[in-house]
Amino acid sequence: MNLYEYEAKRIFAEAGINVPPSARITKPEELTKVHLGFPLVLKCQVLSGGRGKAGGIKFPKNLTEAKEIAKTLLDMTIGGSKTQCLLVEPAMDIARELYLGITLDRDRGCPIFIASAEGGIEIESSENVLTEPIPMPYHPYVGRNLAKKLGLKGSDLTQVADIANKLYKLFESKDLDLAEINPLIITKGGDVVALDGKVIVNDDSIGRQPYFKGWQEAHLQDLSVRERRAKMADLNLVELEGNIGILCNGAGLTMATMDMVKAFGGDPGNFLDAGGGSDQKKTLAALELVNENPRVDVILLNILGGITACDEVAGALVDFMKKYPERQMIVRLRGNNQDKAEKMLASSGLKLYPDIEEAVKEAVARSKNSSKKPVGAKV
């Protein structure tokens, strides 16, 4: 779950990391009540990246200018993410900019600090980047070592070390995938302040983080309506441009099925991984989600039951076909409880394809001949 900048900064402040004083506005008139002096910084609050380049950050010099700019910024959509509100802060006196981030390194299997003595940069394309594995359990000397390696001295060193330690505490206690301060500034007065922040909360951990309870739905704005519904139903849906709806159990099999559809000349309309152990109800919900995509002409269901029982899937199919008897459906169903499933489907008129390639080829052939009038789709 991606957080807005103002949410990230609120969490930083609660952890004892300095952030600039600020206000939030959703209407230009609200600026009259903001007393932060001039020049001000107005920043679009969006969930996407590339905000600076897109013109989502401005520095008005007086109230009149600020109101005009605020009007434009509040209407902006950046990278598909609509501006939720504006964060208003006083412009800071910057002496130096740094970069500080923490993420989980999948290759090392542990969290790492990513830091740079140059801030405000795109960290992926910068050369002067330090990566430091973080030991578990954590000790505060790690922050001091990091600040030292960045070439800092005196009060800069101790302040940055302190922030690094607080940021790690936050990363671990709130189950984050990413905690990033970019830039972390040193002001002309010698204070170290988080000027911008990006926080991603680990999706699998939200359930044990009471702090984020109920946040999820408001932070899925970059997803389609169906993708959002899938996420709330614990299904993995990614919508694509083609007309073959794909539903499988397991990420690898779903991707492999998608690849085969493409390799045999078809066009996948979605990736839907129903996950392991889906029962009849969840499988039916998954079928409905694929069915409702207006681009989908043919549904290809490929299930290899391990933790998923084939008879549960068959039950969902029986219900689904009763509701949408004209839906073009290619079914491949094998694995645990396959015999039971076959019996349940014997009277449904559905042909079961034992081989994956045969099933894919048939789905592709049908997708080419379809009437282009999807059955049961909500347009």
């Binding site: 578990m136 694509l240 492999a256 645990n336 994956i356």
Partner: protein
């Protein structure tokens, strides 16, 4: 065969839960030596006619001599269950649970290494040595004994490819599902090296997917250390960038982790590439006919 055989004594953690109980039964029916189950508060009960339930793993190990634990507990309890197994002296942990917070997994992986134990998973289907032992959730009927060693990030895709192998007459020595999470226990290299040393394995199949760089690193490792033929398959050749494709680890980010990069690494390092599951079986047939490399 590697890691498990018919003698491997297995304890099931979370044995009386819905999934744990159903799969304990499947394992037992397959012939796996399931000697115990653990559910706190249910010690003294028996499930499926022959599996005694204990309150703690320590007691289960003491009474039955189990060396392997198959863990089915819910995600937020998995770290504790893992620590419990390790401290009870379990040597091989098979962690099936999906959705474990990655920092918990990182802590468990560090503890497993410190103890010199082995962890398969999390978010994995488990391990099978066909005809001997099935530990996890794999559908036993699609596997058969033979010379192919398999290692995979995916569950159901492993079944797909095992099925293609079995139906074309090529059985498997052992299949290991290492799991689709970004942080995990055993990795490709460790499993491939075990297959290299295993006399029953003649050919290896490595199943990868988009995300991370484990496949690229394994490819370089294979060139240096593996003499037996390896067939590689990558899922997600048509996956759009920036989208998490089901598995927590399956995402192309910042242009990294693409199928193209992994396939290229395979080709550059002498790994035979298959583009579809059925093609894996064809490549295996070819590799089995070739004389072994010196």
């Amino acid at each position: 065969m590697i890691l498990v055989d018919k003698k491997t004594k297995v304890v099931v953690q979370g044995a009386t839960g819905k999934m744990g109980s159903a799969h304990a039964k499947r394992m037992l029916d397959y012939g796996t030596n399931v000697v115990a189950g653990v559910t706190p508060g249910k010690g003294g009960e028996t499930i499926h006619g022959s599996i005694p339930i204990f309150d703690t793993v320590a007691e289960a190990v003491e009474k039955t001599g189990a060396t392997c634990s198959c863990i089915f507990v819910p995600p937020y309890l998995a770290l504790d269950a893992g620590y419990e197994a390790l401290d009870a002296g379990i040597e091989l942990l098979v962690l099936i649970t999906e959705g474990i917070p990655p920092l918990d997994t990182a802590k468990l992986v560090a503890a497993v290494k410190a103890k010199g134990a082995k962890l398969i998973g999390p978010n994995c289907p488990g391990i099978i040595t066909p005809g001997q032992s099935l530990i996890g959730i794999l559908p036993g009927q699609i596997f058969k004994s033979g010379p192919v060693g398999m290692v995979s990030k995916s569950g159901t895709l492993t079944y797909e490819i095992a099925l293609a192998l079995t139906e074309s007459g090529h059985g498997q020595s052992t299949c290991v599902g290492v799991g689709g999470d970004p942080v995990k226990g055993l990795d490709y290299q460790e499993v491939l090296m075990m297959f290299e040393k295993d006399p029953a394995t003649e050919v290896m199949v490595m199943i990868g997917e988009i995300g991370g760089s484990a496949e690229e690193e394994a490819a370089a490792f294979i060139k240096k250390n593996i003499k037996k033929p390896v067939i590689g398959y990558i899922a997600g050749q048509t996956a759009p960038p920036g989208k998490r494709m089901g598995h927590a680890g399956a995402i192309i980010s910042g242009g990294k982790g693409t199928a193209a990069s992994k396939l290229e690494a395979f080709k550059a390092n002498g790994v035979l590439v298959a583009m579809t599951p059925n093609e894996v079986a064809k490549q295996v047939a070819v590799a089995l006919k070739q004389p072994a490399k010196a």
